[in-house]
Every structure is written in structure tokens, then in C-alpha cells.
């Protein structure tokens, strides 16, 4: 019940495939022309296909979405007095790089309020775009606290009317909903492999639109142009210093290939969330209500126990692992009407069974029975 953090189990074949790669002779990325670097190339191709991106060289491998967001935010060619607009629903992987650059005097950022379900209202964005004229909008596709999905096509269209660069955090949605930067006109997208893409930890990607030029945050060996002091201009190598995580990328590749053949049934998955929501309401918990498109995430609080206690009881007494607290998104809670103790978050996977939902239901009823 903690799949919004790290999915479990992984897609079939991922673990075996990774073991296979680790037992083979290692690849020689860009360093041995007579050896094929097939594992990495295939993963990049599948990522480009997932995002509907024409040129797979615009996909940069990263260790996770945090890494991708840092490369995109820290490496952006900021100009004096630039303003960034982001939202109260963002994860610290967005907020902390922005805070870091603000502290360094490189930019100033503003926080857009969100609705009580965690969404950024398009009309609110429209007003803030006029007010701040931001250079960049950084916005999550789906809240990691509530699961609410933002209407990205509309938000991006408003931002583009203002000439604002749009950076999407798709950590919570890649693998569940279409993420289509080139159709939506988004400039950058960060995603991670270890959540709903069902891949291993330590994988992720950054999409960078062809007109965006980032300075490398990391520099070092690339296997090409070794005689030059600067990182090469060629993408994606410009942003990929050092040896890649071949075994994990092969795992992500296998997960992407598997998901391509086995599309997720969101209706079935969300039915399970609604079952949990019904139980929580029945036992008197306060559920963060989300209407419309959402991820398989539900957040709640109770007057009987604080979130930490509920998490401890669920894990200690019932072997149910969930996430409690601020979920690394500390600014969202006032908008949800929740204290700084945060919430309990249950997050499902496409592999969550009816029996597991039953076990959660039994546990919740027992916990809140007296």
C-alpha cells in the first residue's frame, strides 16, 4: 500500500532480467564500437515511445525524478530577475532546488495555491501568470498526497500564451496516464522508473524539448570528445556524464516492454480505491476527497489516532505498509484542511489484489472500532 513511493512487486521479468545483465560482461557505452549497447538504447527508445517523443536523444537517463528535476532546474539558463511559478502540491524534489537557487539569488519563486483536492485550478494559474509573468512553471501532473490529476493540456496552454517554459513532474502519473510533452507543448518532463512504471529504483528520465538548452549539472566522462574540456554538445550525452546504471536500465526496459503489452486497467484499479474510501468514511475517518481523474492514492486523517500512530498500527499489527506524514510535499496541507501532522496515505498498484483490499478493510474496521 505504498506504491506511490516505490512500487511492489515489479513488472514480471524485471528482477530476472537485471540479474542476467549483471552476470554478463559490462557494456562499454560509446567506448567500443564493435559492442552493441543494446540494453540502454532500447530503454531510451521505449521511454521516447511512452512519452510520444519523436527524437529519443531528447530523453536523458537519470537516477530518479529528483535527479531529473535538479538537472532541469539547476541547469536552466536563468536570467536576472527570473520568476518561477510552482504549486503548493509540489514535492520537495521541486521545492528544494528552487529554494536553493533562490537562496543563491538566481531566481525568485512563487507558490500557487491549490484546490482542496490538491489540483491547480486553471483559472488560478491564468491570474498568477498575469501577475508574475514567470519564466518557468513547474507543476506536478498528479499530487503524491491526494492523487488528483492536473488538467495539464489546459494549464500548459495558458502558460504558453504567457511565453512561460513548462516543466512537468510526472513522477506519480507515468505508467498510469498518458504523458505527452510534444503534443501538450511541455518543455521538460521528469519521471521516475520505480513507481508506476514498475521498474527498479535508481532509474528515471528527463525529457528536454529541442529548443531548451540546459547547462550540465554534472560533468565528466562521456566516452566521446575526450580531448575537449567541455561536455559535448550532443544530447543526451551532454547531460549524462559517467557510466550508466546498465542493470537497472535493463530492468526499466523490461518493465516498459511488459506494460506496453499489458495496459493498466484504471477503472478496476480505482474501484479498489473507492472501496477503501467507503470503509474509511464508514469508520469515521476524514478522507481527502478527489473528484475526477486521479491516481490510485488515498489520503486520510482520524480524530482517534494521529497519522504516525495509524501507520505504526497498520504495519506493526497488520503487516500493512503505508506512508504517513508530510509525504515530502509540506506546502499542500493547509489547502487540504489538514494539520502539519500530515495524513496517512494508502497507494495501490495494478497488482493489488481483492484479498489485500479485504485485509485493509478488516484492519481499518478493527483500528477504528472502539
Amino acid at each position: 500500500m505504498n506504491n506511490a513511493a516505490t512500487s511492489y512487486p515489479k513488472a514480471p521479468g524485471v528482477a530476472h532480467g537485471m540479474e542476467h545483465v549483471l552476470k554478463q560482461l559490462p557494456g562499454h557505452g560509446n567506448r567500443a564500437v564493435f559492442r552493441r549497447d543494446e540494453e540502454n538504447l532500447s530503454c531510451r527508445t521505449l521511454l521516447a515511445r511512452l512519452l510520444g517523443v519523436a527524437d529519443e536523444n531528447r530523453i536523458v537517463y537519470t537516477s530518479n525524478a529528483t535527479h531529473a528535476l535538479n538537472i532541469g532546474i539547476l541547469g536552466f539558463p536563468w536570467e536576472p530577475k527570473d520568476i518561477v511559478l510552482t504549486t503548493a502540491a509540489e514535492h520537495n524534489s521541486v521545492l528544494r532546488p528552487l529554494h536553493y537557487l533562490q537562496k543563491k539569488g538566481r531566481l525568485h519563486y512563487e507558490i500557487a495555491p491549490v484546490e482542496p483536492d490538491g489540483r491547480l485550478a486553471p483559472e488560478v494559474l491564468k491570474k498568477l501568470l498575469l501577475k508574475y509573468r514567470p519564466r518557468m512553471l513547474v507543476v506536478t501532473h498528479g499530487s503524491n498526497v491526494t492523487g488528483a490529476i492536473n488538467d495539464l493540456p489546459k494549464l500548459i496552454s495558458y502558460a504558453k500564451e504567457s511565453g512561460t517554459v513548462v516543466f512537468i513532474d510526472a513522477s506519480q502519473t507515468a505508467g498510469l496516464y498518458p504523458v505527452l510533452p510534444e503534443i501538450w507543448d511541455a518543455d521538460m518532463v521528469a519521471l521516475t522508473g520505480h513507481k508506476y512504471l514498475l521498474g527498479p529504483q535508481g532509474t528515471g528520465a528527463l525529457y528536454v524539448a529541442p529548443h531548451i538548452e540546459l547547462e550540465p549539472v554534472f560533468t565528466g566522462g562521456t566516452g566521446i570528445r575526450s580531448d575537449e574540456e567541455e561536455m559535448p554538445e550532443e544530447m543526451p550525452l551532454r547531460l549524462e556524464a559517467g557510466t550508466q546504471n546498465d542493470s537497472s536500465l535493463s530492468g526499466l526496459k523490461l518493465a516498459l516492454a511488459w506494460a506496453d503489452q499489458n495496459p493498466v486497467n484504471m477503472t478496476e484499479l480505482l474501484d479498489k480505491i473507492y472501496q477503501i474510501e467507503a470503509t474509511l468514511t464508514l469508520v469515521g475517518c476524514t478522507v481527502i476527497k478527489v473528484a475526477g481523474a486521479r491516481t490510485p492514492v488515498i489520503s486520510f486523517t482520524s480524530e482517534k489516532y494521529n497519522p504516525e500512530d495509524i501507520g505504526d498500527i497498520l504495519s506493526g499489527s497488520f503487516d500493512i505498509i503505508c506512508r504517513t506524514g508530510l509525504h515530502c510535499a509540506p506546502l499542500i496541507f493547509p489547502y487540504l484542511g489538514v494539520s502539519n501532522a500530515g495524513t496517512v496515505r494508502l497507494s495501490l498498484s495494478r497488482f493489488t489484489t481483492a484479498d489485500e483490499i479485504k485485509q485493509v478493510t478488516i484492519a481499518l474496521k478493527e483500528i477504528f472500532s472502539e
Binding site: P307, E308, D309, D312, I313, G316, S317, F318, D319, R323, T324, G325, L326, H327, C328, P330, N340, A341, G342, A363, E366, I367, S369, E370
Partner: protein
């Protein structure tokens, strides 16, 4: 660290959390629970698959755990946590020694 328990900070995602996990050298049985009950208001949820207990020492200090397991989780106040932790650990050591003395 001593031979009665080991302690480490319980990492979590709460603001200003001062929680510590104590791994005891013996499991928390009914007799230990009775002794702990003398420290404050004890609640035991025996209907859970693994019985859960929560001890409210005062408004700022709380201890919880699973019956027959070895781990106690203690939470202290933001302002006064170091002193509270020190006092708690002394009481805990005394309790554990007393459990040994009676050979249970």
C-alpha cells in the same frame, strides 16, 4: 547503547518529530506491560492481529509497541526532548534490570 537495549532515531516524514526506536534485549510481555502502565495512561488493543499498546506518559511523551515484540517507539516533545529522552532511558533501564532480577 548498553546491553539492555539499543536506540536509534526513528526517521519519518513529520514536522519536528523526536521519535526514537528502542530495541530491547527481551520481548515486551504482559508483566513488562504492567510495569509500564505505572508510568502513565496505557491503552492496549488486544483485538488487533498483533496486540498494540500505547502509553501516554504525559501530553508530550508517548510510548508504543507491539506485545511480544522487542521494539518500543518513544516520542518526545520538540522543545524538551533531550531531557525527556534521558529520563525515559533511565526509567527504561531500571525497568529492564528489574525484569532480569526476577528472572522472567
Amino acid at each position: 547503547m548498553n546491553n539492555l537495549y539499543t536506540v536509534k532515531k526513528a526517521e519519518n516524514c513529520f514536522a519536528d518529530a523526536k521519535s526514537f526506536a528502542y530495541t530491547l534485549h527481551l520481548p515486551i510481555n504482559e508483566r513488562m506491560l504492567n510495569k509500564l502502565a505505572l508510568w502513565g495512561e496505557l491503552t492496549v488493543r488486544r483485538n488487533f492481529r498483533r496486540p498494540f499498546f500505547m502509553l501516554k506518559i504525559d501530553e508530550e511523551q508517548q510510548v508504543k509497541g507491539i506485545l511480544d515484540e522487542n521494539i518500543l517507539k518513544a516520542g518526545f516533545s520538540k522543545e524538551n526532548w533531550e531531557k525527556q529522552k534521558e529520563q525515559f532511558e533511565q526509567k527504561l533501564s531500571d525497568l529492564l534490570v528489574s525484569m532480569e532480577d526476577t528472572n522472567e
